[in-house]
């Protein structure tokens, strides 16, 4: 008998008002796996992650996390179950410092330990601890968002375009961080950058107009030209 996946999405529909954005989307995420969600702008990638995190309600279908049905659960309950979210654009809490951000995400008893891990992964943040997060550069904000996810000790991380709009040197740092993160958790990664997806992804789902149109091994999908064709590259 195969073990139940960490995250199982079964034929979900998600709507904004009357507009249906996701139609019957299903996916599975196993242990220490990076599953990439690929698609053009407006395909429903961010909507999918928001629905998985509980920010958007699921109209139909089921979301199972660590074997439990969490479909109707709010975001904070999912977070306590081990789900963490790195949102697109890496929004922050205005007026709060980098240290505050890490403090909110971490358990009080593990604060010192998790902070040390973050500083090892992103040394630049150790020089910014007292700085207000909204004054960080775009790349540093992305690092902070990933660091916040990490200190919450997640079992599953949802990452929405962590390398979008950042300098190549920071893309390399984030890519390296992702490779290390997968040793401690599984990741659903929305990524437009095919090279990054290929470097860290094990499997991929291609979304088009809110539905899964292709799925399979990341490398095979790439080598067969399906990803480039679907993305119009």
């Amino acid at each position: 008998m195969t073990p139940e996946p960490l995250l199982a999405v079964k034929s979900i529909d998600v709507s904004y008002g009357r507009t249906k954005v996701l139609r019957g989307v299903s996916l599975e995420l196993g242990a220490n796996e990076v599953v990439c969600i690929i698609g053009r702008n407006g395909a429903g990638k961010t909507t999918l992650l928001r629905a998985l995190m509980g920010v958007l309600p699921v109209r139909k279908g089921e979301v199972r996390l660590l074997g439990r049905d969490v479909t109707g659960w709010k975001g904070h309950r999912r977070a306590h179950m081990g789900l963490s979210w790195v949102p697109q654009g890496s929004s922050v809490f205005p007026g709060l410092s980098v240290e505050d951000h890490l403090g909110i995400a971490s358990r009080v008893s593990e604060r010192a330990e998790t902070h040390q891990e973050v500083m090892t992964l992103f040394p630049v943040l150790s020089q910014r601890l007292s700085q207000e997060a909204q004054t960080l550069s775009g790349g540093e904000r992305k690092m902070l968002a990933i660091a916040q996810g990490l200190v919450s000790r997640p079992k599953v991380m949802l990452m929405d375009e962590p390398t979008e709009g950042v300098a190549p040197v920071i893309v390399a740092q984030i890519r390296s961080a992702l490779s290390r993160l997968v040793e401690v958790c599984s990741i659903v990664l929305v990524e437009q950058n095919v090279d990054t997806a290929l470097a860290v992804g094990t499997r991929a789902y291609v979304l088009e107009r809110g539905a899964v149109v292709e799925k399979g091994d990341m490398r095979e999908l790439h080598d067969s030209g399906i990803i480039r064709k679907r993305l119009g590259l």
């Binding site: 904070h76 306590h80 809490f93 909110i104 995400a105 300098a167």
Partner: protein, 295 residues
């Protein structure tokens, strides 16, 4: 010298009343963003709880201590049952809290009628310090103000709850996804705000005449203090209270009280009008060559 100190205490006493009435609004309006027109009625409820307890037990102190608990419980019930769906809907929240204020006021009138009531001052009399006569209860209000401001500062800036509360206020969606139950944090903040209003009502009861209109004028002053000092800013609230209390106390020396109150309202409106420009200029001085963060 004695006159100067007497006047200084008058200013401090009036300012402390303004600040006391506005502390609860700092939570419900300043932090949560609810245009809470029922704030005055939470003051009213606190005052009448103090009155009822004093009538039953003979103890004003017990009444003052129970007033915040009763008001906080009422606030919690209202938030959970109704107000929690009105965050981020300012016009709707204004209408709903106005409706609640009318219901609460009429409720008090139904139970206690419109006949003015008096709560006994258990600390009758004055202290004499440096030749200045200071009414004991008014001194108590100043002391309680200082303790409350310190306590609120510590709660919001030095505790895990405070950190999480600030996160909920500034980015509720992100806070929720980081494991914070935003809905309950908001409920607790509203209950704290209501409780503080209840405490203010209880403390002001022995130096006021109680009737169902008790909260109305206090509501206007509380909003002025919060807005003048900068919505959501605790130091701003204290400064706003000192400015309003100070100007009213000073004007009352020279002109009749009613005229002084009108003039203070005009000054407050002017202050709110000018405030954004002052902040802008201060910001420019602090960051003369502000640069955009780059990737």
């Amino acid at each position: 010298m004695s006159d100067l100190l007497t006047n200084a205490f008058s200013v401090l006493s009036l300012a402390s009343v303004f600040i006391l009435t506005a502390l609860g609004l700092h939570f419900t309006f300043g932090l949560l963003g609810l245009v809470n027109l029922a704030h005055g009625e939470f003051l009213l409820v606190g005052a009448y709880i103090a009155y009822a307890i004093q009538q039953t037990t003979g103890s004003t102190v017990a009444g003052v201590m129970l007033a915040p608990l009763g008001a906080a419980a009422l606030g919690l019930v209202m938030e959970r049952s109704l107000l929690r769906i009105f965050y981020d809907r300012p016009l709707d929240s204004l209408l709903v809290t106005f409706g609640l204020s009318v219901i609460m006021r009429q409720g008090v009138q139904l139970i206690y009628s419109a006949v003015p009531r008096q709560v006994r001052d258990p600390l009758r009399g004055s202290l004499t310090l440096l030749d200045v006569n200071i009414p004991k209860w008014r001194l108590l209000i100043v002391v309680v103000d200082v303790l409350l401001i310190t306590g609120i500062f510590v709660l919001l800036s030095r505790t895990t709850f405070g950190l999480r509360a600030r996160a909920c206020v500034r980015n509720p969606e992100l806070a929720e996804t980081m494991g914070i139950d935003v809905s309950w944090v908001r409920a607790f903040l509203f209950a704290i705000g209501s409780g503080l209003a209840g405490l203010a009502g209880g403390l002001l009861a022995p130096i006021s005449t109680l009737d169902p209109q008790f909260g109305l004028l206090l509501l206007v002053n509380a909003f002025l203090v919060v807005i003048l000092g900068g919505v959501g800013s605790l130091p701003g609230l204290v400064i706003g209270g000192l400015m309003l209390g100070g100007s009213l106390a000073l004007l009352q020396f020279f002109i009749p009280t009613v005229l002084a109150q009108i003039l203070v309202l005009v000054l407050a409106v002017l202050g709110v009008r000018v405030r954004p420009f002052l902040i802008e200029r201060r910001g420019e001085r602090a960051h003369p060559t502000s640069s955009t963060a780059v990737t």
